[in-house]
Symmetry: C2
Subunit: 359 residues, 2 copies
């Protein structure tokens, strides 16, 4: 539980062994740090490249304890880690980012209250414990609006769009009694995200904002630089820095922002490396994954300067069959996640295409 930088050869424990854990492990290996991945799936993407893998469920106290004792610091690639697991692990090794960041990001209501409390703009929102609350909230926000589960949503899952107040009952029923939040409509011109990092000494470095395009509720492309005025770029970075500092955060965070006529509105934050930051692998000397590893290892941050303009394209499901096409474009860096089966909606990889002058 010290802020002494981890020595080369030390071990980072990663909760979750998907593609984010895999790319964290590859970055850690470059820095001479070992990784121990905890993920229930025997053939998870991160285990293929990590030094060690514990294949056990997140409620296996014995496995968690052995994992916690075997590592020097613990981080994670997803925010929905059961509280009981965190309670157990917290006594064994530092967890970075810390509990406050997880509390805030695990619950959309808590997150919105936290952001509002910092004076940051969010979509209008209301806690929805029952149908009456939903109807009252819709009367305030109007439609369209989105009803979301407070917890465990990602990539558009756990969300119902409400186009008209008459759909309230059906929408509420669709969430099957899960605690919910209503979010009002935000009239935005584009979505951007800032990938920010904060070190154990409080230093902050943010990558340039990227512009996101979603398709079927899943991130499709991130293009850097975002086509926004310099003033908004500054606003976005300052805003991310405020969030990081307020949470006494250690590690990389993704901050999704709507660009509106009246300025930036925070959509959501993710206490981890983020899909919209994958472009940094090709656009920056030190990518988001290495930046996160540096931060959680107690090392100084790298500079976040961008040396190249990049478009990141996610390869979802069958998109991965286009690899030959991407490989033939020599200015495109390919990242595949080692997943055997290309199911619809599954993130199989991504490509980072350098935007050459004139292209």
């Amino acid at each position: 539980m010290t802020d002494t930088p981890l020595a080369p050869g030390s071990t980072i424990g990663i909760l979750g062994g998907g593609q984010l854990g895999r790319m964290l492990a590859l970055a850690a290996a470059r820095l001479g740090l070992k990784c121990h991945v905890y993920d229930p799936a025997a053939d998870c993407p991160a285990a293929q490249v990590a030094d060690r893998h514990t294949a056990a469920p997140y409620d296996d106290a014995a496995a968690l304890e052995a994992f916690g004792r075997a590592v020097d610091v613990i981080t994670y690639e997803f925010e929905n880690i059961p509280t009981a697991a965190l309670d157990l692990l917290g006594g064994l090794a530092p967890i970075r980012p810390g509990r406050r960041a997880l509390e805030v990001s695990q619950d959309r209501m808590t997150e919105k209250d936290f952001l509002s409390g910092l004076g940051l703009a969010t979509a209008p929102y209301a806690d929805i414990p029952d149908l009456a609350a939903l109807e009252a909230a819709l009367a305030r926000t109007g439609t369209p609006a989105i009803l979301k589960t407070r917890r465990f949503g990602y990539d558009g899952k756990g969300q119902v769009r409400i186009k008209d107040a008459s759909e309230a009952a059906a929408a509420f029923a669709a969430l099957k009694g899960a605690p919910a939040i209503l979010e009002g409509f935000v009239d935005f011109s584009c979505e951007i995200s800032v990938i920010g990092a904060r070190a154990t000494d409080g230093a902050v470095a943010c990558f340039d904002p990227g512009e996101n395009v979603h398709r079927d509720g899943i991130l499709h492309t991130t293009t850097v630089p975002a086509k926004i005025p310099p003033r908004l770029r500054t606003d976005a970075v300052l805003l991310a820095g405020r969030i990081l500092s307020a949470l006494d955060y250690v590690g990389v965070m993704g901050v999704e922002l709507f660009v509106t006529a009246s300025g930036l509105v925070v959509n959501e934050i993710a206490p981890r490396v983020h899909n919209s930051g994958h472009w940094t692998q090709t656009g920056c000397a030190i990518c988001q994954f290495e930046q996160h590893v540096r931060a959680v290892a107690g090392w100084p941050l790298g500079r976040a300067e961008r040396h190249s303009d990049v478009e990141m394209l996610n390869l979802i499901g069958d998109d991965v069959e286009r690899i030959a096409e991407f490989a033939a474009d020599g200015a495109t860096a390919i990242h595949l996640y080692g997943k055997a089966e290309a199911r619809p909606g599954r993130k199989m990889g991504h490509v980072n295409r350098i935007l050459l002058p004139g292209s």
Copy 2:
């Protein structure tokens, strides 16, 4: 034995598990390709990040055969692979780069004859089977000159510098009867190297020449761009392309060149990724390791454009203790090789420092 590109999930066999094999394995993982490392050392750097590791000597026929059958293509991180191993493996999977490149680079005499045969300038040289041959050769080349073993030399090992003809007998004795070559003095202003790549379809891409500084016979720094006139840069790249094509080469090659008043003189070639190409990890979208993996996997090459100026500094022995200093410079990318013990002269890692404008 086909030129069909390897599909994601295929396995590349790597002979040798040092830092070059490690960085090849990390690059292959990014591309969704698996690696199987063959190296006698149980804790070799590449095994820490590869999918599989065979820890067996290079003369273990059963282990070699099992390895050859388990992989889709074979490559290597060092050129001194025993011929018997290559004979056995060649029947099981394609070896890339091929046998001709290994024959040429395993023997300094064969290499010099090959280069001369292409019309390329080399140091004056002579085969030295006995002391009389050495004395006769010294009479022609004058001193200083360098007596080298024809085979198995690296990082200045297996070399004796002869400052005066009177030292001939002592120098010859120092090589203990190993077949030798005398190389005459080349009056050069600097050493550069070109890291070139050739694909299975014959396409060639060369990275910008880097300027090398050695210390105690080991590469100390490579700085890109090399401070040489544009004409010489072009010459260097064309020359590398000729060598690659003449060998019907597949993969990445390092070509070390002396810059002299009368043009470029080839020092030596290495049929593999090369220490003087490590800067590409930070200076290019697709580094030499990914380029080599693409080539041996039958994929198209990436572009070799440089987006940033870089100085690569090798961390030899105790240099690795300076990690905190390098980490504190956010424009420096750190690469450590996972070696537990920092022995003198041992390559422990390297750092790539981006040369920012004005620095």
